[in-house]
Symmetry: C2
Subunit: 504 residues, 2 copies
């Protein structure tokens, strides 16, 4: 059974175990940084033998679970309830709404047989999104005005046969998301829901995850298949490209017409319902989160999300090693009692190696304990993002951790916002636009229209600017172009400002 | 747009809203009880137009989420870590282990095309279980003895093209589970893991969910495809049939041979690893849980699992309705601050209707508040399982809820154990066995062997006893048959006792 390995290889394995460094400039080599950190931090393994399908390792799985918890709790707070729908959709359901099927058909994986010989009666789509799975049931569930609003969401996987090149977390053929599908008696209530969705994005993504973004109304040629309007949050990656984060779609009565979802009002009259859907892709948001916050030494994770929130490193001199270890364990129990996820690293690596390793993994807070700390009942607290150390009494550990956790989030959020803002620009001429795009900025320009008549100008921008795209109108934007401002391309009067940039 | 409904229909809708009863004998009409409670409690909708695919409504989804939390925390406690693997398996991976593919091929849904025209290079199996998805990666991940034991689990869906008739929660073509896949340096450690898995089943299913069961070593002809031994927990449904709950499988080195999973020991020699897997199907356990604990008035849910743990019913006389409502809201805030999931039912149904409704839904604790309670700062506390009411001061609410929650679990657990035990019997002769099976008992009999040479006797039992099956040896069982005990069928000396019964 046993194969002999050369002594040298065995020794080399030993060394790999013992030393550790991660040092890549995120700003200058983002692509390399990204690929390496995914590998070294053991976020995901890309060697699964189906293109675009990712294996999530424990470090990302735990972080993603925390992100789901936070997102789901926020949805619950706003009166949404969870459901679980089948992952497969019969072809006949899938084809009910014409625009929707046109948009999604190119991306569908089809199940065509089952068992050894079994032909299925009908092809089954592996859901790329769940409108056509859920809405036939909505037609049963919605009966009277008393059933409305109906606000349901599910957490799970969807599958899309992506043509574009795939990238771990950011774009795959299988991804993990929440999709929220809501039903109302009026278009106004449905529009109000899209605003609530945008607020949820702010509450969770900006306030809890520290990710900056702009929420855009997408041009009509770039909306969700079957929607009447799409609002989408875009963040900025370190290489200056937009990444779409949650989008919310006003579906109007397009789907209720197709799926015959009607309610009866108090007088006994039937009406079509109005609908919205909202889809935060947690796997992608995690990709954005670690890309936005990481630094040249590796990951920086917000305290709430980190799989290990506090790591304790005992510094063991030959004398009193036992005492120091016992003290480290005492602190572990203490921190664990506070409800935090904590680990003592008792491996036989050198303390310096342990520091680098857990910094690379993004653990927010490190406690260093040596002979002196053990003797005096103190502990050295290290904060991952700014590398500040402070010596405190263990009596103050609880409030220090809580305080530093908050400080860390506030600080990485501010830093991310600063970077985001530094990448924004505006252009008065086509030449300025070209320059800014070269410098990897997101550029605000006056534009003819995001209705369908603006699409040809958008196409021309894409052609001339190496793929930079019109992302839409900033929904926070209040002022409109003055009379003499014109679209750079068609030279018609501009009716809005839009942002232009490259996307993932 | 609006269609006029007759006045009468509108009025009827109103009435349906107002009155409520559920009263079906679970013992006498279990099948009807089960079908109706799934519908009336809005656990699941069976109208999805793909056979065996269930739509989980909020009430079951929330309960199932709590069950996942409890199960995952228990696995974490025992040193398992979560991962997320792809839902699809390339046919070439799937076929690597011969017994495994033979066992599962009849149950696989196949993805054969993608996009509008897209032929896939290779068929993809929608995973029926994840050994063949995970173990190719395990071959990369396991390098040295330092990487072991490796204990990973994932929570998610699997799909099996079941030939048997499907039933919501109990048997479907899509179900929701946890699968834990573990790797060791020795067979002894792997066997120890199967014992740990059985302990986890006890800690969670018996102690937290209150479900009684026997853990069996399955006969060799009924083991997991690719395993060397299968240990499975069977509970008893109200109609006297066995339902298989979590099973743990000793895989030995069958899969490590096939997938080349090897580790290097401290001396640099390579060895095959030994493996186990464990698969609690949460959707099915939920089905068992509500079937075992429910009564003729509906669901009874353990406090930890109930989507709403405490429901408050204000009893509104015309006078002082405001005061009572305000008091109900005050209690809600109080209970919510304790960390419990609580709701005030302010709908315009009559209090009695509300009582029946929330009893049917299985809410463990009800607080009734009327004028008198509001005035005196008291509250009437009702416990769902035994229907006992007690009037307490609101000052004692916290400990009363905690106490009653514990009592409820202890009490429904005891009741379930009693029923379980009452269904067990043993037989000395074939005639006795036949009688007991007729009376829907689970019967212990002396048996020739659960090795492959016992299969023909097992088949004969199945034929003669209308489908009753040999479930295996109770792993807690210590004594073996005496010399003169014989197998009822072949009359060879019995080498073990087995249980025989009908299964779902």
């Amino acid at each position: 059974m046993a194969k002999q390995k050369s002594k040298e290889t065995a020794v080399r394995d030993e060394e790999v175990q013992e030393t550790f460094t991660f040092n890549i400039s995120k700003q200058e080599n983002f692509s390399e940084w990204f690929t390496k950190i995914v590998q070294v931090a053991e976020l995901a393994d890309m060697r699964y033998n189906v293109k675009g399908f990712l294996v999530y390792q424990p470090w990302s799985t735990i972080a993603i679970k925390r992100m789901f918890d936070i997102y789901e709790q926020e949805l619950d707070k706003f009166g949404h309830s969870p459901v679980i729908f089948p992952s497969v959709i019969p072809e006949s359901n899938f084809q009910i709404e014409a625009d929707h099927v046109e948009g999604f058909a190119p991306e569908v994986f089809w199940i065509t047989s089952a068992g050894s010989s079994g032909k299925l009666e009908e092809r089954l789509a592996l859901r790329p999104t769940s409108e056509t799975a859920m809405y036939p049931l909505y037609a049963y569930w919605v009966r009277s005005w008393r059933d409305l609003p109906m606000k349901l969401y599910q957490s799970g996987k969807v599958w899309r046969y992506e043509g574009k090149s795939t990238r771990p977390f950011l774009r795959g053929r299988e991804f993990i998301w929440i999709e929220s599908h809501n039903v109302f008696t009026s278009l106004a209530e449905a529009e109000a829901q899209t605003k609530e969705d945008m607020q949820i994005s702010i509450n969770v993504m900006r306030d809890r995850f520290g990710i900056p973004f702009i929420q855009f109304e997408r041009p009509q040629w770039d909306k969700f298949a079957g929607a009447i309007k799409t609002l989408a949050a875009d963040t900025l990656m370190p290489d200056g490209r937009f990444l779409q984060l949650p989008s919310t779609h006003l579906l109007g009565d397009n789907f209720s017409k197709a799926f015959k979802i009607e309610y009866m009002d108090a007088e006994g009259n039937s009406h079509l319902v109005y609908q919205t859907c909202y889809g935060p892709a947690i796997s992608r948001i995690f990709g954005a989160l670690f890309s936005v916050h990481g630094d040249d030494s590796g990951l920086i994770l917000p305290f709430e999300i980190a799989p290990i929130q506090v790591v304790i490193i005992p510094i063991l001199a030959k004398k009193q090693a036992k005492k120091v270890l016992a003290y480290a364990e005492e602190l572990k129990t203490l921190v664990s009692t506070m409800g935090y996820r904590v680990k003592v690293d008792t491996s036989d690596r050198r303390p310096g190696d342990k520091y680098y390793f857990w910094e690379m993994k993004g653990v927010p807070i490190r406690l260093e304990v040596g002979r002196r700390e053990a003797k005096e009942g103190n502990v050295t607290v290290f904060r991952r993002d700014n590398r500040e150390k402070s010596l405190i009494s263990k009596e103050n550990l609880k409030e220090t951790i809580a305080f530093k956790a908050d400080e860390l989030l506030a600080s990485i959020k501010e830093k991310a916002e600063k970077f985001f803002t530094s990448r924004l620009a505006s252009a008065e001429t086509l030449d300025e636009l070209v320059d800014h795009i070269k410098n990897r900025k997101m550029v605000k320009i006056p534009f003819c229209s995001i209705e369908l008549d603006g699409e040809s100008c958008s196409d021309e921008i894409k052609d001339r600017l190496a793929g930079a795209e019109v992302r839409g109108i900033d929904v926070q934007e209040e002022h409109t172009p003055s009379e003499n401002e014109k679209c750079f391309i068609c030279e018609k009067p501009a009716n809005c400002y839009v942002y232009v940039g490259k996307q993932y």
